[in-house]
Symmetry: C2
């Protein structure tokens, strides 16, 4: 296969399809989502058979158990995809919303209309469920999608793609609204991220290495989702009970997620009171603790933290702890080490809360609640395609609105510039 | 000078300064803008002397008269910069605005806060006034700025930079909030557009070549302002008088601007009526006409348009004209040839207007008014740093809001995830 030629064709088809889906009524898009769900339900045998081929190959290739776990579909996985499609169908359609219409002194009326981005390219690792997640959010937001999943999931993804295309055609939409790239050749990715005439934005989902490589090589705009090195700062004006609950929950509710706390900052005046209680709680949950000198002095058996600890997204039952002189020192620490994902402050002082909220430059700033709330469902987006640590276009959880843009609309009555 | 080392230092200083300016009150930022205006006024002699050096060198190097014209400052140019600063000081501050605060079922309260992007890099050609335009908009929107002007304007830009820094220091802000790169070495640009740890967004202002080169090489996000190949479509349900006025104004009000019409599309049923009147009007203004076969058949002495005409931003008294079968054919032509800047429809039909508005994918869609309205002042932004033909982050005229982003803010009362 000539990869460049193949990808150009995929791109042209996506651009043409993007015009059709952008013009489709909300009802048609919802019908398509439900038709895809029905097609998945009717194709369980084929889906499980395709997934079995990928799993057998993955085992043969010696994939580790975490990877195999993510690759595995099963009837429960199919149920979850069907449930996801039904939920996205129920969300309000962001497209077409007109806002801020105002008359200008010239007499023209100016406002904005929310519109799809056009063609979205999604590059992800070997999790077949992402194929449905990404396709459904892009479809509902009126975009055409080009999906490139991990090579280990190729058969599963192609079986899912057939269901998607069946659902699209059933409601009279072109199957090319969602295209799954059929080759595992890496050149296809190189082509995808530089076809700026056909692709409007690339969303990579996966490890830091994948995302940085794509961001470096892409000429198409990229919405990045990098690490979550999230902090909780316990202020000396914190309520002790709230601080305890939030610090425990932010670390231990789930370990392998990007909105888990990785570093706990405690104001010195309150450290002697709250640290021992927290240390006990973390030990009960078998969380390994690494601390600054002052932390180690206040509690036994804590490993000394090094500079690299402050820079690490553990995604594991490990926590680094630093005692800071005051809120400004906490803000400075966050400014230096945070990945810009989510930071929380625990304080009863409205002045401190206001300052922290203004001075900390991360995608989500949380006052007196767990960092674990930083996700699309909890924020009310209904679903998310990722959590952006970028600053332009969209920050934090990316839902349907993050997959759209706003164009200007103007009404006149024959108005001209003089 | 070690360019890489120098630029890293500029970047570090900008990042540090961005934290100061992001936290500055609106009043301080306005005071700084007015102090810069006063410094320019007090430094007229130095500014004119510096500009004279650039002009003399430019003449010696044989720059053409258009370039020299843009390079020239003069007392009128200084007046315009002072006026611009005063206007930006009077605009509302976009930063800190909190919107969409809602309680979620979990009990947390979630909303968005508008915040600066951080560090903005501006790369532009030899127009010294852009130094003040860009610096003032970035300053008001709470961003630190790194400016890289054309080498022909180096002395002028450095003299302006001294006034900016004087104004900043006068109100207690660090001079590094606005830095003008002091070397004309091209390596400085290569470094600027890849320092993603220090620079959040790059805005290139200049010709297509400059912008495409930067977009290709940058790893930092770029807000592009490419061509304006703008269309006016005269529908067969147009009011003839409005159509005539809009088609004349869109082309002839100014020729060298990106929101001027370059191609006129006319619905076939109305062409025989309106085309001869328009041809006369354009000829009176010495506009060269190039038309499709049908256009040439309806009026004498029109040159045949080639495919390359539909792809050209003339920026000159030249117009291409095409007669199309119906609105869908006009939309298809625009989809194929437009640069996505601005398109207008002239029609009395609300159904046609609604369809055109939905189906045309450009940054501004205008119904029954001249394309010349597509700019920041006319749209009510107060000032603009450019007109984005990108789809992500910001489309169309980019004002203060386009230089900001929104972060999520969350209030709880000790809430945890369960």
């Amino acid at each position: 296969m000539n990869i460049k030629h193949y990808m150009q064709q995929v791109g042209q088809q996506a651009r043409a399809a993007s015009r059709m889906i952008a013009a489709a009524d909300t009802g048609i898009k919802n019908d398509a989502l439900l038709a895809i769900a029905a097609a998945l339900d009717a194709s369980r045998k084929e889906l499980l058979a395709a997934n079995a081929i990928d799993m057998a190959q993955g085992e043969k290739d010696g994939l580790d158990s975490a990877l195999l776990d993510r690759l595995s579909l099963g009837d429960k996985g199919i149920d979850a995809m069907i449930e996801g499609l039904t939920q996205v169908a129920a969300l309000p359609d962001p497209c077409g919303e007109i806002s801020d219409m105002k008359y200008r002194p010239s007499g023209i009326q100016v406002g904005k209309m929310r519109v799809p981005l056009g063609v979205v390219g999604i590059i992800y690792e070997s999790r077949p469920n992402v194929t449905i997640d990404a396709a459904s959010l892009c479809l509902k937001s009126g975009n055409a999608t080009i999906l490139r999943g991990g090579k280990e999931a190729l058969h599963s993804n192609q079986a899912i793609a057939r269901c998607i295309q069946q659902g699209l055609e059933q409601v009279g939409l072109p199957a090319t609204v969602v295209q799954v790239i059929e080759t595992i050749d890496r050149e296809a990715v190189a082509e995808l991220i530089t076809m700026s005439e056909y692709v409007d934005v690339i969303i990579p989902r996966g490890g830091r290495g994948l995302i940085e490589r794509i961001a470096n090589d892409a000429t198409v705009s990229v919405i990045k989702h990098l690490d979550g090195i999230c902090h909780v700062y316990i202020d000396d004006q914190a309520d002790e009970e709230k601080a305890f609950n939030i610090a425990v929950n932010s670390k231990t509710h789930r370990y392998g997620v990007c909105n888990a706390m990785e570093t706990l900052l405690i104001a010195e005046p309150i450290a002697a009171v709250i640290l021992p209680r927290l240390v006990d709680a973390y030990r009960n949950k078998e969380v390994e603790l690494r601390g600054c000198e002052k932390t180690c002095a206040l509690a036994d058996g804590i490993l000394p933290a090094t500079d690299s600890d402050w820079q690490t997204e553990y995604l594991a039952p490990i926590l680094s702890i630093r005692i800071v002189g005051n809120m400004q020192a906490a803000i400075d620490h966050i400014g230096q080490y945070s990945s810009g994902h989510t930071e929380a402050i625990v304080t009863e002082s409205i002045t401190r809360a206001r300052q922290f909220m203004t001075l900390v430059d991360s995608s989500a700033i949380i006052v007196n609640a767990s960092t674990r709330f930083a996700d699309g469902f909890e924020f009310g987006l209904g679903a998310e395609i990722g959590i952006s640590t970028d600053k332009i276009h969209v920050r934090g959880p990316v839902g349907l609105e993050g997959l759209t843009s706003q164009k200007w609309i103007v009404f006149g009555d024959g108005h001209i510039r003089t």
